[in-house]
Amino acid sequence: MTLTLLAVDVDATMETLRSEVREFIAEAVSTGKFVPDCDNWLAGWAPSFSAELAARGWIGMAIPQEYGGSGRGSLERYIVIEELLAAGAPIAAHWIADRQIAPALLRYGTERQKQEYLPKIASAQSFFALGMSEPGAGSDLAAIRTKATKVEGGWRLNGAKLWTSGGHHAHAMVVLARTSPIDVHSRHSGMSQFIVDLPAPGVTINPILLMSGEHHFNEVVFEDAFVSEDTVLGTIGDGWKQVTAELAYERSGPERLLSTFPLLTSMFRRLEATADAPEVELVALGTLLSRARSLREISMSIANALQRGEAPEVAAAVAKDLGTRFEQDVVDTALRILDGVCADASSSNKLERLLARAALHSPGFTLRGGTNEILRGVIARGLGLR
């Protein structure tokens, strides 16, 4: 088996769009609207910046106009988000809603759900969190125990979700829960998805601090939390199928290779400004750049495949496995070659600041969205090994 991915031909419309985004970013940086940082799609929660992007039509680009989006499609969305990611812009607030929830709503949502949420997603008024992992279900997602019990007019949720990014800010979250008890012969059946507006009675959100001390993750506890019948997303019992269909989006995007790109750019600038730049450093950066180029080509061609309605699961697993390790390699290279530059979040030196964030966030790159070990299993299965 080989992956045949069609190379993407970037047309003039996309290049015009790219220029517009670049101008906007340059202006935003120079006027202090944001300070570029690594991994800012996870850590940079900035509703007002999200609102500015929405005003330009750069959120909900894959949402049709009838639901308040710009309907420009996933390839043009790709151009916008890769520019924002490479520049280290703070896009965490709308990230999950724009990347994952909007496509899921378009695919599985009822008319009411689409009318209610899509326009607010596109206008950056509704930010979402995802409730998937649990204390006893990390890589083994099928082991979830959060339970939805049928009651009159709806469902009652009981259980706990873990690693819920942005849950403490979000307006709503999509929760994966068991609607029938686990069947050892068919572990993937009996799960369903619910849209839970936040805050809500019976839902408690507890912070879990990252090792950097930052608050992005949460534990979300459900204690007899009631949700009405029309909060069911898609079909009862199809939760697993619906969730895995989203994974190609979640695993192949440019955020799986560009989380540390601002650091790479900064390293190149430093060498440009150095007379007689050491060859060993130039070699290290050239090697990283060659890898970034391949990864971007893979990622873009998957975006192209998604636009055509395909769900290239194996390709997406390759993109994330290689992409996230590349993100870590950028950090490791910085630590290896930057003599006299120390990771320091309080530094006035941009490179030291970027390195501090990148180094502290680095372990998460190869964990979030499915650990790389799980992804390699997906690749092996695709090759017929298991």
């Binding site: 890769e82 050239g286 060659s290 890898r291 180029r293 290689l322």
Partner: protein
């Protein structure tokens, strides 16, 4: 050009290789040219795919040539098609008399152009020239007072010492002593053209060799039983295979992008894409050669098993043209002129214009 057309080309190369297989034997530890394969490839119009018809070519397109190079690399065929093709396409714009017989290209030479009695002559050595003993002409870059020039030299005018790479392929040292060039091209674009193309073409050959090594390895781990289960049941084996597959996917993506960039003509930006591609191919060669041997165990280390046909080439071809480190150094030095790392990655129009 449709996918079907490219598949047809691949199938044609595969069929030719099968027919020629009987003559593809190792003799005296050194590889001989596979004359049968070469003849069949020539008859099928696959020898000089993108070269103009006037120079013995088929007026084809780069993606078609890419398929031929990949499949020949896959089958480890002993033909100097890469070098002959490159020599022909470099000479074709500058001479009406492109030879029909085989030529080669040297990408590692210290040739110098000088004037002796009013005649232009070339002196110096081309080291490790692929298949020079079967080539009528050696095409190479030479240093003149005006800068780098492209020259074509008769191999009959050279003194040749026989050498081989570790795959057993001829890599002779070819020395010229005040030899008159058959062709001399002062166009500085020729240098970029030669270097951009040879790096991409070698990457495609490496990709083919790597694909074969992976196929052999998958077959082996699904067949071989130890501790009561096939090797493929072991998670660590699955992860090694995923590692190889990932490296090959990255190389393929790099090659595809370089092909579409190079289709617009050579420049500093196309050189950058070719350098980046070759870095990926060399990384892949390292990963795939190492892990395919590890997963084959001792049997893969024998002469009898075909794995070495791929892995010795993966190792030998990494050393042709330019090392991975030299590629990375040169790529980094091109980046400021291309607008920085992000522009280098994204701005394909600019890449095409420069």
């Amino acid at each position: 050009m449709s996918d079907q057309e490219l598949i047809l080309i691949a199938e044609t190369v595969d069929a030719i290789v099968t027919r020629a297989a009987a003559t593809n034997r190792r003799e005296g530890g050194k590889r001989q040219v596979d004359d049968t394969a070469l003849k069949l490839l020539t008859e099928a119009g696959l020898r000089r795919v993108t070269v103009p018809g006037s120079a013995g070519g088929s007026d084809g397109e780069l993606p078609q040539l890419a398929v031929v190079l990949k499949r020949l690399g896959y089958h480890a065929v002993n033909v100097a098609l890469l070098e002959d093709h490159l020599a022909a396409e470099l000479l074709a714009p500058h001479t009406d008399a492109v030879p029909k017989d085989m030529m080669t290209v040297s990408s590692r030479s210290d040739l110098i152009v000088s004037h002796v009695d009013g005649h232009i002559v070339v002196s110096g050595t081309c080291r490790h020239v692929p298949w020079s003993r079967t080539a009528s002409l050696v095409v190479a870059l030479a240093q003149s007072q005006a800068g780098q020039v492209l020259v074509a030299l008769r191999s009959a005018d050279a003194s040749v010492t026989s050498h081989h790479n570790i795959a057993g392929e001829p890599r002779d040292h070819v020395t010229f002593d005040a030899v008159a060039p058959v062709v001399k091209v002062d166009d500085s674009a020729s240098s970029l053209e030669l270097r951009s193309r040879v790096l991409l073409y070698r990457s495609l050959s490496l990709l083919g060799a790597g694909e074969r090594a992976l196929d052999l390895t998958i077959t082996h781990v699904m067949d071989r039983t130890q501790f009561g289960a096939t090797l493929s049941r072991r998670q660590v084996v699955q992860h090694y295979i995923a590692e190889m597959f990932g490296a090959l996917t990255a190389t393929r993506a790099a090659c595809d992008a370089a092909i579409s960039t190079l289709t617009g003509g050579a420049g500093p930006a196309t050189l950058a894409t070719s350098l980046a591609t070759r870095i990926e191919a060399d990384r892949m060669a390292s990963v795939v050669a190492r892990l395919s041997h590890q997963l084959h165990g001792a049997i893969g280390f024998t002469h009898e098993h075909p794995l070495h046909l791929s892995t010795t080439r993966l190792t030998a071809w990494r050393q042709d043209d330019l090392s991975e480190t030299a590629c990375a150094l040169e790529l980094s030095r091109l980046v400021p002129g291309l607008g920085g790392p992000w522009d280098t990655l994204t701005d394909r129009r600019r890449w095409l214009q420069t």
